[in-house]
Amino acid sequence: MEIKTTIRKGINIVEITGNLDGNSAPQLQESAMPLIVPDGDLILDFSGCRYVSSAGLRVLLMIAKQLPAQGGQLALSGLLEEVKDVMDMTGFSHFFKIFETVEEAAAALTQARKK
């Protein structure tokens, strides 16, 4: 798995490419932890990821709980069919903000900030 982090208009964007499984989940955790900062908005882009196991979900849950506690917002984008299936199966799609593209996610987070 590869992880690329960029900042666009003040929003941290983490692109996940490859499988998010037991082997690679710690890598995502390591990359995301420094981005959990006061008022830090974060988009996790899954458009390059076809596979998420429970080890990956564990890290997502951790980010989803910790970021709002700091006043940050989290959004997911680009979920492929297989990953969406996992989110639906586990009920994670109930509480994640999920968008088709990074751009849509960024627009929604920016809009929510303005309110």
Binding site: S53, R58, M62, K65, M89, H94
Partner: protein, 135 residues
């Protein structure tokens, strides 16, 4: 019946999954089902790798039985007794604040597979799972 034995180590996970995918080939599953099979098996295998042999090295035996309409996969270890069917299911309707990551892997495995059974036999955990072509 294709059978393979692997040392229960994380570095062998990929080979184990590859072996199962090979066994699944005959059934011509669609892409989504293959991905689900991968997930279900990985969850079981990672559990064994992480917890079955706390004080010693051990192995994992995998038997694949591809039939006409369904694939049966038997995963066997000689580690501490573990009944996956006893793991309480997470409530997937709870709000985020109340969700915990525990039990999700086994939960997904049970959702994905059509049949799951467990036997403890002569010091071995034997988990048998079946997945048919039709949902």
């Amino acid at each position: 019946m294709p059978k393979a034995v692997f040392p229960a180590e994380m570095k062998n996970l990929e080979s184990m999954i590859a072996f199962i995918r090979e066994g699944a080939e005959k059934l011509d599953f669609d892409k989504m089902t293959l991905s689900q099979l991968h997930l279900a098996c990985e969850e079981v295998l990672v559990n064994i790798i992480n917890y079955a042999y706390p004080d010693k090295e051990g192995s994992i035996e995998i038997n694949c039985k591809p039939g006409q309409e369904q694939l049966r996969i038997e995963i066997v270890d000689s580690g501490i007794p573990f009944r996956p069917l006893d793991i309480p299911e997470p409530d997937i309707n709870l709000p985020l604040e109340e969700r915990s990551p525990g039990g999700l892997g086994i939960f997904m495995m049970r959702k994905i597979m059509d049949q799951v059974s467990y036997t403890r036999d002569q010091g071995r955990n034997i988990l048998t799972m079946a997945k048919g072509k039709q949902p």
